[in-house]
């Protein structure tokens, strides 16, 4: 046994310290199953003090660590570090406080995203950030990766909804960042922490901002005979001055997959589907809906459906939300990419992706958050065919470079993690990365916290891709 492990045994009772090979296997990867690593041990803290103790133990013995929640990271951000400690936060899953009057919820990091909205629902409130993994992903993970979802154009990402956090820094010191106020004086240290992918600290108590639920939704599904027309429709909606809560596009391959999986009633022959959702006060939404109808009519949609009830609305969204995992029905394996382009370059990006797809001989399905230019190309491949995974990875990389070349980003909501660290140099200059690294080293001179992630460096070899067990069970989807 590792010498330091016996010290850890004094900190964590049996059952909450795992170190036998069989116990470690479930923790060897996250939702990006192409990477695997064997941690030295897993601890399952139940309090802030235990997280602090675990981090101090790591600092003392110079053992790298990674904290994780449900492990739905698609960028390999919660992949364990070979020989490091894995701090599993799923047991810290309590709602500590819900204050409907002040519209805040205070949760532990293992609390599930969707549960925040469920807890707030009786008061007419909800938690806006809604990644597709929201039924299973944790708030701690959402905070670490600044998770997004379909509503980011209007509501922003996770960082816009985190007000305060109690944080264990990599040296084991605890700090309180932010406050219950939406305002701040002095530098936004909390803003720096959110999205730092576990490199700057572990949040053990998180104060979230809740919003009043919109009074009404108006959801439109429009079918087009080309992707270009759907893309132009998005531009026309924006030009009209409307600000929808969500605008989503699916291409024919994604439609086929979603239909096969959940029978949302989508027009199967469509080359592209556009979902536009207005939300807000009833008189305002009713007036906006008339403008939207005009815009959609002019955009050349051959079929337009408006959800007449909440059931119809949810059915439209069910297909969209299922699209990712449903693609698994079309192909044994797939990689989902997460690039962003300026909205006006969407058409160009899609045309380029089509060319790349043909060149690499791999099918690519497209589902994307059109409102904010966040593409999610799904690259289909068969891992049992020699070299196909590598080809798919290469194609994925080409798509990322394309996004940067068009003025966008290598990640809209999944984070850099293990998967995209090699592409950070596409987006940032040496001085930019050096400044980020200096910040990291100031807080963590030994680079213990989530070592090997985000910054360019050596990556372990890719392994065979496969669906995450939760994905196979239909609990999570890749978005």
């Amino acid at each position: 046994m590792h010498a330091a492990l016996s010290e850890l045994e004094r900190l964590f009772p049996p059952g909450r310290l795992l170190h036998r090979p069989g116990e470690l296997v479930p923790y060897e990867s996250d939702a990006l199953t192409a990477f695997r690593a064997r941690p030295l041990a897993v601890v399952l803290p139940e309090s802030h003090a235990e997280v602090e103790a675990a981090v101090r133990w790591c600092a003392k013995h110079q053992i790298p660590y990674v904290a994780r929640g449900s492990g739905t990271s698609l960028s390999g951000g919660s992949l364990p570090i070979d020989g490091g400690l894995l701090i599993g936060l799923n047991r810290m899953n309590r709602l500590l406080r819900l204050d409907p009057q002040e519209r805040i919820a205070v949760v532990q990091p293992g609390f599930i995203n969707l549960q925040v909205s469920n807890a707030a629902a009786p008061y007419g409130l909800y938690y806006a950030p809604d990644p597709s993994s929201q039924p299973v992903s944790t708030i701690g993970g959402n905070l670490a990766f600044n998770s997004g979802g379909a509503h980011c154009l209007k509501y922003g990402m996770t960082s816009n909804h985190v007000l305060a956090a109690r944080v264990v820094l990599p040296d084991g010191e605890t700090v309180e960042l932010g406050s219950e106020s939406l305002e701040n004086t002095g530098p936004d240290w909390l803003g720096l922490l959110v999205g730092s992918e576990g490199l700057l600290g572990i949040a053990t108590e998180i104060t979230l901002r809740l919003l009043p639920k919109p009074e009404t939704y108006h959801t439109v599904l429009a079918a087009y005979d080309s992707l270009a027309k759907a893309g132009e429709a998005v531009a026309a909606v924006v030009a009209s001055g409307l600000l929808p809560g969500a605008m989503e596009i699916m291409d024919s391959l994604a439609i086929e997959a979603a239909e096969a999986a959940v029978k949302a009633g989508y027009p199967l022959e469509a080359r592209a589907l556009l979902i536009v959702e207005l939300e807000g006060e009833t008189p305002q939404v009713e007036a906006e809906a008339r403008y939207l109808e005009e815009v959609i009519q002019k955009s050349g949609a051959y079929e337009v459906r408006v959800a007449r009830s909440n059931e119809e609305r949810l059915k439209i969204w069910k297909g969209r939300k299922a699209a990712f995992s449903a693609v698994g029905r079309l192909s044994p394996d797939y990689i989902v990419q997460d690039g962003v382009v300026p909205r006006s370059r969407l058409g160009q990006a899609l045309a380029e992706i089509e060319k790349l797809s043909a060149r690499y001989g791999l099918r690519v399905a497209n589902v994307f958050h059109a409102g904010d230019g966040n593409l999610h190309p799904l690259i289909l491949y068969n891992g049992r065919i020699a070299g196909e995974l590598e080809r798919a990875e290469e194609l994925a990389g080409e798509i990322l470079k394309l996004c940067v070349a068009l003025g966008g980003s290598i990640t809209g909501e999944h984070g850099v993690g293990m998967e995209k660290k090699a592409y950070m140099t596409e987006m940032f200059a040496e001085a930019d990365l050096a400044a980020m690294r200096r910040i990291r080293l100031a807080l963590d001179p030994l680079e213990l916290a989530n070592r090997g992630k985000m910054f360019p460096g050596e990556a372990p070899a890719l392994q065979f891709h496969g669906a995450h067990p939760l994905e196979k069970a239909g609990v999570i989807s890749r978005e």
Partner: protein, 362 residues
């Protein structure tokens, strides 16, 4: 006394200034004098020459501009395309710049609708304490790559780096707006209504409290829906209030933007509505206004700032002096904890941007 100001016209010149000077203080339009008055030994970097919008595509809801660009210029440009800065920065007429607004972290009443400055900043370029030009974030509305340096710069007061370029998300401006001033018998009744409104699906562009008992509410949206929404709002409150529209409404908010609340120092305080009753007891005659459902207070303080500092400390609140004679613009509780000191040191190891230049050398 201090050396004469430098006037860089490019990021390279800012880099040069940082490399060749011991202690620097950036200044934009000078609209927040408490933040741009140099200490002894500090050289002022007048950023007004580093101005101009670099990229703006209305269909992207995004623009990129040099940090010294005046808000007035940005607003005029956006207005031509029916767009606006949803965080509603103050001090536009006084010449506030983008960089100064970011560094001070200032938002105005309309932050109520979609959020404050930190919710709209997308990208930054700045010169760090070693003269390196650093970029963070990007210029698309959704981006999760790398550390969120743009947010870190919000409220940084020039102590982490000198901003040279910023990118912002913008939104379509409401096509029509209307304002309702509603009087309540006292603070308690006004706060009760404030809470009810803030937790309701009624979408207000502004939800201000003018103490002791007046709520100032602003609606925005499509003109044809506005009359019905105003009626619903009045029914919700059970009060008619005094509606303002047209030129009078525009003038009302334009005048408020100047934050000419009264004589003395101008101070921003971050809080929540829960803190208002205790503050109201303590603040006495100081003219003030609570913005954004009680999350933001601007007040005029015509007495010793030390007294306000102590008052805020006692209530566990933090404040920022924008105008007024002080060497320490950050008052109230100290939010610069261990993480802050380490990050500051990482970006400015030699203490070139430190508030107390001589102390930083120790």
């Amino acid at each position: 006394m201090s050396t004469p100001p430098l006037q860089p016209t490019s990021a390279a010149e800012v880099q040069e200034a940082v490399r060749t000077h011991r202690h620097l203080l950036p200044r934009g339009g000078g609209s927040k004098p408490a933040l741009s008055r140099p200490h002894e030994g500090q050289t002022v970097l007048d950023m007004s020459g580093l101005s101009g919008v670099l990229e703006y595509d209305p269909s992207e809801y995004v623009f990129v501009a040099r940090a010294g660009t005046r808000l007035a210029e940005v607003e005029a440009l956006l207005a031509q395309h029916g767009q606006y800065l949803p965080f509603d920065p103050p001090l536009v007429a006084q010449g506030a710049t983008l960089g100064g607004t970011v560094a001070a972290g200032l938002s105005g009443p309309m932050r109520q609708r979609y959020g404050g400055l930190r919710d709209f900043i997308l990208g930054v370029q700045f010169v760090d304490g070693e003269g390196q030009l650093v970029r963070g974030g990007g210029k698309v509305v959704k981006n999760a790559a790398g550390f969120d340096l743009p947010k870190l710069m919000v409220g940084s007061l020039g102590r982490l780096g000198i901003l040279t370029e910023v990118a912002f998300k913008v939104f379509p401006a409401p096509k029509a707006t209307a304002t309702l001033l509603v009087n309540f018998p006292g603070l308690e009744a006004a706060l009760e209504a404030l809470y009810r409104l803030a937790g309701s699906p009624i979408e207000l562009y502004a939800l201000d409290l003018q103490p002791p008992g007046t709520l100032v509410l602003r609606l925005g949206g499509l003109p044809e829906a506005l009359p019905a929404r105003l009626e619903r709002l009045q029914a919700f409150l059970g009060r008619g209030g005094e509606p303002l529209s047209g030129e009078a409404e525009t003038a009302y908010w334009r005048s408020l933007n100047e934050l000419n609340l009264g004589e003395g120092a101008l101070v921003k305080v971050a809080l929540t509505a829960r803190r208002i009753p205790a503050l109201e007891q303590a603040l006495g005659q100081a003219p003030r206004r609570y913005l954004s459902a009680g999350h933001l207070l601007y007040l005029a303080w015509n007495a010793e700032l030390k007294a306000l500092d102590a008052l805020l400390q006692a209530q566990g609140l933090s404040g920022l002096v924008l105008k007024g004679a002080t060497h320490r613009p950050q008052i109230g509780i100290d939010l610069g904890q261990a993480m802050g000191h380490k990050v500051t040191k990482a970006l400015d190891p030699q203490g070139k941007f430190a508030q107390e230049p001589y102390a930083a050398q120790d």
